[in-house]
């Protein structure tokens, strides 16, 4: 139990309370029950009391337990055992001592500065713990200056300074501005302030009264509007005019300093969005009219998906146009390309478009917005559309095709080869999936590959897979694929 009372800090209340409570504990076995019962409830408070006491002196858990637990749940206990001190005074003592920072009493002006900082983490707990206790008492004590619920953290420093001032002035009731989330320990100990209005604060300290939210909302809305406008006006005049008009409007209307980022954003947007292609002229006009009417995020997201989807449709169309026959596979390839496009595009424009368009919506819209589009696509330097990495991979195999053909080839034939490869890859994946499912697996293993090659007629009883590997793959890969025995009775790769 608490044996050592360090007289350094709060000699009067805390030590007094401790002595009282210790004696109370020693008297009755009820303390244990209360401790056990109270531990669950007072676990945060014990932690809180740790932190609180840690600054002043080393405190044992039991001591904090002892001090905390009887005080909290057992009003009756306190009343019964500590007849010499009224429960009211006891509670007051507890509340004042509970948060380290509660040194509002002129007598306990121990550490005003470190106390609030220490008390800030356990604020919530202290407020919660002392809430009920404080309720009956603090109402009368709620001073005419209610806690100032300042929303921003930047006010903490101000609050501290204010608090210090008040402490120096010897005001028992500190009118600290509070965070909306948690009540400060001080205020919780003295005032219950959870719904105090900001007006008194503004009246007293007009410099602190600020209203950021309404301004920010307007800016965001305007910015999004600009983005939407810029994104859907594809090229040339409509875009330029819209872009120029909108920022000027905003500049005229919005006299806030935040209007400038809007202006800077809007010219950046057309660079960002190269894919709005010509077939989206109609969309752009529609969207321009929409924009003037409505400025909603939802609409913007829809239009974004439309723009993306229509561009995907155009790209898919390009692929589909060369081949006439293989329609089903083309149709599968098209929406796949379209669907994967929005993903990549979205990934490349996270800061601008926070809402990822749903893929089915993109595919639907791509099917809707279909008009024939001229091939040239204006791409910004920083923007990499999805086909590029895919095409570079396919190009790898088209080069091999050229090498294997050993004959001059037309350029169009190479495009044909790419299409074939695309189809081949789709079929390959499907087959592998079927084989893996047949084996009850979700991972495609080399055995599935071998089975596929066997069915394709590449691997026969005469020609094994290893033979093919040896023939066609370079040494490094051969070493990885064909198990070889090494010294020490080891085989690599392990079977």
């Amino acid at each position: 139990m608490a044996d050592s009372y360090s007289p350094n800090s709060e000699p009067t209340t805390r030590t007094l309370l401790r002595r009282v409570l210790d004696t109370a504990d020693s008297r009755s076995p009820r303390r244990r029950l209360s401790v056990r019962a109270g531990t669950q409830r007072t676990l945060p408070e014990t932690r809180l009391s740790w932190r609180l006491r840690s600054q002043t002196k080393p405190t044992t858990k039991r001591r904090s337990h002892g001090t905390r637990s009887p005080g909290r749940p057992a009003h009756s206990q306190a009343r019964r055992h500590l007849e010499e001190q009224t429960p009211r005074t006891l509670f007051q003592n507890i509340l004042r001592t509970a948060p380290e920072s509660s040194i509002l009493k002129p007598e306990s002006t121990g550490k005003p500065v470190p106390a609030p900082t220490a008390a800030q983490p356990p604020r919530r707990e202290s407020s919660r713990s002392s809430l009920e206790l404080q309720l009956p008492e603090l109402e009368p004590s709620t001073s005419p200056a209610p806690a100032l619920l300042a929303p921003g953290r930047r006010k903490q420093r101000v609050r501290l300074s204010m608090f210090e001032r008040q402490v120096d002035q010897g005001q028992p009731v500190a009118q600290e501005p509070q965070e909306t989330a948690d009540a400060s320990s001080l205020t919780s100990s003295l005032n219950l302030n959870f719904a105090t209005p900001l007006q008194p604060q503004s009246v007293k300290r007009p410099g602190l009264a600020r209203k950021p939210p309404p301004r920010r909302a307007v800016d965001v809305g305007l910015l999004l509007q600009d983005l939407r406008d810029a994104s859907f006006a594809p090229t040339g005049n409509s875009l330029r005019t819209s872009v120029t008009t909108v920022p000027t409007d905003t500049a005229l209307e919005d006299t806030q300093p935040f209007s400038q980022p809007l202006v800077s954003h809007s010219p950046a947007v057309p660079h960002f969005l190269p894919h709005p292609s010509h077939n989206e002229n109609e969309d752009a006009e529609r969207t321009v009219s929409h924009r003037t009417q409505s400025s909603q995020l939802g609409l913007q997201s829809d239009e974004v998906t439309e723009a993306v989807g229509s561009q995907d449709a155009a790209e898919a169309e390009e692929l589909d146009v060369p081949s006439g026959e293989e329609d089903p596979s083309d149709s599968t390839a098209g929406p796949e390309m379209a669907s994967s496009n929005p993903r990549s595009l979205q990934a490349e424009q996270p800061p601008l478009f926070s809402e990822p368009p749903p893929r089915p919506d993109a595919t639907l819209r791509s099917s809707q917005a279909v008009p024939a589009r001229p091939p040239p696509r204006h791409r910004a330097a920083g923007h990499r559309p999805r086909p590029d990495p895919y095409k570079t991979g396919l190009n790898h195999y088209t080069k091999l095709f050229r090498f294997y053909a050993k004959m001059p080839m037309e350029k169009a034939a190479l495009g044909m080869v790419e299409k074939c490869l695309d189809k081949y890859f789709h079929r390959l994946c499907d087959d592998l999936e079927v084989f893996a499912a047949h084996a009850g697996r979700k991972t495609v293993k080399p055995e599935d590959l071998e089975l596929l090659m066997r069915r394709q007629g590449l691997v026969t009883d005469q020609v094994s897979l290893h033979v093919l590997v040896e023939r066609h793959l370079p040494l490094e890969y051969r070493k990885l694929l064909i198990p070889c025995a090494f010294s020490g009775n080891s085989v690599f790769p392990a079977q």
């Binding site: 570079t392 991979g393 080839m409 789709h426």
Partner: protein
């Protein structure tokens, strides 16, 4: 061994397999499936063999039409045949 030998051994691998490309393609197609580490090498082997057969077939087609240049049609016809063959 001499240092130059070890350096040359680490030289560029000709006929590199685009392993990440293959893995990405598979993932795009079948996101719910997994491809093993060595599986993509075999997929690369399969692609090589497919391209090889396709090239041979298209060369045959071009030669049959007595063209010195491989045309789109040759490739198309070849693709039909080879894709059918590698149905699996």
């Amino acid at each position: 061994m001499a240092l130059s030998n070890t350096v040359s051994q680490k030289a560029k691998l000709k006929r590199k397999a685009p392993r990440s490309f293959l893995k990405r393609v598979f993932k795009r197609q079948k996101p719910h499936l997994r491809l093993e580490a060595r599986g993509d090498l075999l997929v690369h082997l399969n692609c090589l063999l497919f391209v090889h057969r396709l090239a041979e077939e298209s060369r045959t087609n071009a030669c049959e039409n007595k063209c010195g240049v491989i045309n789109k049609d040759h490739v198309l016809a070849a693709a039909k045949v080879i894709l059918k063959k590698s149905r699996g």
